[in-house]
Amino acid sequence: MLIIQGYETIVNKTYDVPYMERTRLYYEAQGYSEPYAWAHFANTPFSALQKPLSESTVSLITTAMPDTEQGRSERKLYSSLTTPVPETMYTLGLSWHDTVTHTQDIGSFLPIEPLLVIQDEGGIGSLAPRFHSVPTAYSQRQTLEEDAPELLERLREDQTDVALLVPL
């Protein structure tokens, strides 16, 4: 495979996009000297399911913000009702690939309708009555010490058994 500054071309058209490398080069070109350092851990936590999915409450987590005046102006943790299914979500400012696609179909990033179908078929116990928007913070401390613990509290209020997380 031919690799030129993070771009594999010509030989192999299907490859996993090297997002970390692309991001580093892109921000370097914008004059940022310190590359963003993604967190890295030696071990990964794991919790086995406590009960069958058909008896579990499933919560949905997204990085899209509510398409409301507050959601558009302040990136923070929000909880919104799953039904009625929102028609739009606010996705500007997230690093999605805006030169080749769009986020006008919330079904392409927020699977409320599929989860309702699966719920009706008995595949899950229930979809939690609210879903949660989590900001993609530059600060890992912000995520680890503030957003994630607050989200956990809300999921416990929702009696969540399992969480489906869908970042854009």
């Binding site: 996009v17 090297p18 921000y27 070109a29 999915l53 079904g107 530059y138 869908v166």
Partner: protein
Amino acid sequence: MSLVARHLESQGIATVIIGSAMDIIEHVGVPRYLHTDFPLGNPLGNPFDRDMQLSHTSMALELLRSASKANAIQRSPYSWNGDPDWRDDYSKVTDENRAELAQAGEARRAQQTEMKKLNPRQLIPNP
């Protein structure tokens, strides 16, 4: 989102991520991950393709059910129905746009300085 999944998992809530950035996921390490090879923004697949979106959701739930240890990764068999060269396009830096990017960086830093003055807690989106 990887950090959030890790936190929830460590507190007893089983998680699965549906996403399209394999390198980041592998670097951080998450309990369960369904990789969908689509442009960022459409992790459930092609816009308005309800069957594909349902199928990806089902695959993620199946991974939740079947995974027996952390860093369980599965790839979706589906692919993007748009420009086949989309992978090369993301955040592309070329001789043609280099000056424009440098200018954009200057403008972004100035904007961030202003934002911090107005609201110190305003979060700057992750690159």
